[in-house]
């Protein structure tokens, strides 16, 4: 049995140059707040997103005709890991660049692709994901938000919840029931919904730190044109499953706590002891391994495969690593998690937000269920 077949990694020739470009842009933009560097892909900064767009670092693999740059998937991977490792504020464009643009290009009507994708590549159009509902969390197949035909178009009614960055987004891709008689994962379809369409209301949900990432999104008889149907009617579940592979496989699934490891090393530079050095070594070993695993999945995706099982394993291991780190650091270092030292501030932030890492993008329990099925259990 070998559940994860590691790929021979072929890093692009351009990797070093791309890294230098990203490091320069990040340094020039100035990302000095250590708390902002933690979990940075939930921190929106439209000015930074536009800079990346101008530098050709968004929509890297998309066709030039839609504002993309036709670079390789591994070149894009290099840029992603550099941005995340630097703690750059990539939250505004992250979802659009990672999955929405790709999905619209893959399944969407040409007029929708023309409307949304070039702006995404410029770092000006942002998106959110409409999956969870009040009655459909991990049990995603119970979504009840409905679309009914209205002439050529559609009318949407219902509600989504836990929608990250809905208040910054211009567009949502939502999973919606198109066949009212259907149950579970049949009769679902994906729709492209402009966030400024009449009848769309966004209400904030404030998290336990006082931060605002989450929202409720209400659809009150929202009229959409025929082109808003993304892909095939009734094929939504399969499309979402493929989308989740994009969503689960990236380097953001192990790098969210990297700012804490960097601050730990900085602290150890002047407070050296053996316990700290051991902890740094252990966390570095995890980082090194997870990077290879994540890049191995990216290599498979770049070849057109769908390594759903491997992607799930990397997310589960990555989340466990990101979540273990705050507790390990708190045990090893006598620092106040309320600050003012940088290490303490990052620690305090991650202690509070890291429990969400194994919820977003699929809970740990759901992921382990997928892995178990991949092992031939059930």
């Amino acid at each position: 049995m070998q559940t994860f077949v590691p790929e021979r990694l072929e890093w692009p020739q351009s990797a070093a140059a791309l890294r230098a470009t990203v490091r320069e842009i990040v340094a020039e933009h100035g990302v000095t707040d250590p708390v902002a560097r933690a979990n940075c892909w939930s921190k929106p900064d439209p000015a930074f997103s536009r800079k990346l767009g101008a530098a050709g670092l968004l929509g890297m693999v998309w066709p030039r005709a839609f504002g993309g740059h036709e670079r390789s998937a591994m070149e894009r991977y290099v840029v992603l890991e550099e941005l995340l490792a630097a703690g750059a504020p990539v939250g505004a464009h992250w979802i659009a660049d990672r999955q929405t643009g790709t999905l619209i290009l893959r399944y969407g009507h040409e007029s929708e692709a023309e409307r949304w994708v070039p702006g995404m590549a410029r770092g000006e159009i942002y998106s959110c994901i409409g999956l969870s509902e009040p009655g459909a969390g991990s049990d995603l197949a119970s979504v009840r938000t409905a679309a009914r035909r209205d002439g050529d178009g559609w009318i949407i009614a219902g509600q989504k919840v836990w929608t990250t960055n809905a208040h910054h987004a211009h567009v949502m891709i939502a999973l919606i029931r198109t066949d009212p008689a259907s149950e579970r994962n049949a009769g679902l379809s994906q729709f492209i919904i402009p966030m400024d369409a009449p009848g769309v209301t966004v209400r904030p949900i404030i998290d336990l730190t006082g931060g605002h990432d989450f929202n409720e999104v209400f659809f009150d008889e929202v009229r959409l044109p025929a082109t808003a149907l993304l892909g095939e009617e009734g094929n939504g579940w399969r499309q979402v499953t493929a989308e989740l592979s994009l969503e689960r496989s990236g380097p953001e699934r192990y790098l969210s706590s990297m700012a804490l490891l960097v601050e730990l090393i900085r602290y150890a530079e002047s407070h050296g002891d053996k316990a700290l050095a051991d902890l740094v070594a252990r966390l570095a070993a995890e980082t090194w391994t997870l990077r290879l695993m994540s890049a191995s999945v990216a290599t498979k995706i770049a070849r057109g495969e769908d390594p759903a099982l491997e992607a799930t394993m990397v997310k589960d291991l990555g989340n466990a690593f990101e979540q273990a780190m705050p507790e390990l650091v708190q045990a090893a270092v006598d620092v106040d998690p309320a600050g003012p030292e940088a290490l303490g501030l990052v620690l305090g932030h991650l202690l509070q937000v890291s429990p969400s890492f194994s919820l977003r993008g699929g809970t740990r329990e759901i992921l382990k269920g997928i892995i178990a099925r991949g092992l031939g259990l059930r």
Binding site: A15, A86, I265, A281, L292
Partner: protein, 321 residues
């Protein structure tokens, strides 16, 4: 995988499966016949001329079949010494002096001493040394998995200093073996969970058991990726950072994986008759051998801290760019 690698994997896999954990010293001939020890020795010197990826693949299979023969040691010893004939083995420790082509002192952790033609050990002043296996003065023992080990006290025996890192390459080999043994223990555990019925259904139907095995699978995956990662890095010639990181990661996977394998198996896995312990006992032994967590942390941690926080990520990416 190339066609050549597929053939090598099929040949080694079939051979190791037929020999397995019950192999004895007399079975070495079967390995010698296919000249596996020369896997890393260049063709010009009479070896197979394989890559480190070939070696990790073969040593992973040795772990996968809990092979009770010193293929790993022979491959690394031949690579370090450049010898294409005879069976070499490794010793993990040496205390004493190497001077005028003679060594006086103690060798520890000599692996599978019986029938070995020579031993490669770390040299006291750094690098490595090759010695003939002494006829007398061997103090025979075994690791917790029952694999033969020995120590020897030597007085002015002929020894040749050679370059190389015995502990590092030994750790690389153990990482590959750990990856294989974890995958094999995982396969046994999954099969057992699907067969064993309790409360009227297979254990594998219970979510708690499923989640344990999923956790185990992730750890086995991490160890496998670490092993392959080191092999790819060795194309550069040496990979001290990667070896330290990979052995540390594999050692962690041992703790989680071996414990979950036994938990899923229940009491049957604890018996001598059942075939789980050849894997788990080796995993526990190999976690100590060629550097435990403390050893590799002491290599890696201070080096990273000395380089400084702002070089941490750049140093990791520089390993692959």
């Amino acid at each position: 995988m190339s066609d050549e690698q597929t053939m090598l994997a099929e040949m080694a896999g079939a051979l190791f499966a037929s020999l397995g954990p019950k192999a004895g010293a007399g079975d070495w001939n079967a390995v010698a016949e296919v000249e596996l020890a020369g896997l890393l020795v260049p063709e010009a010197q009479g070896g197979f001329g394989g890559s480190w990826e070939d070696a990790v693949m073969v040593l992973r299979l040795a772990g996968y079949h809990a092979l009770a023969l010193p293929v790993a040691e022979a491959v690394i010893a031949a690579h370090l010494s450049g010898r294409s004939s005879g069976r070499g083995t490794l010793a993990s420790g040496a205390q004493g002096t190497l001077a005028d082509d003679h060594f006086s002192g103690t060798l520890t952790g000599i692996c599978y001493p019986e029938g070995a033609d020579y031993v490669v050990a770390p040299a006291p002043q750094g690098g490595a040394m090759v010695l003939d296996i002494p006829d007398a003065g061997l103090s025979l023992s075994a690791n917790v998995a029952g694999e033969p080990r020995a120590a020897a006290t030597l007085d002015r025996v002929a020894a040749q200093a050679i370059p190389g890192d015995v502990i590092g390459l030994g750790a690389l080999a153990r990482t590959a073996q750990i990856a294989g043994a974890l995958d094999a223990a995982l396969a046994l555990s999954v099969d057992y969970a699907n067969q064993r019925q309790q409360f009227g259904r297979a254990l594998g139907k219970f979510q708690a058991v499923q989640q344990s095995l999923a956790t185990f699978a992730c750890e086995a995956a991490a160890a496998n990726c670490a092993a392959i990662g080191v092999a790819q890095a060795m194309a550069r010639g040496s990979a001290p950072y990667e070896i330290a990181a990979a052995k540390l990661r594999a050692n962690r996977a041992v703790g989680v994986g071996a414990a979950l394998a036994h938990q899923v198996h229940g009491a049957i896995g604890f018996t001598q008759d059942y075939g789980l312990h050849p894997f788990t006992r080796r995993l526990w032994a190999w976690r100590s051998e060629f550097g435990n967590d403390a050893y590799w942390s002491a290599k890696l941690g201070p080096q990273i801290i000395a380089r400084g926080a702002d070089n941490f990520w750049a140093d990791i990416t520089a390993l692959t760019d």
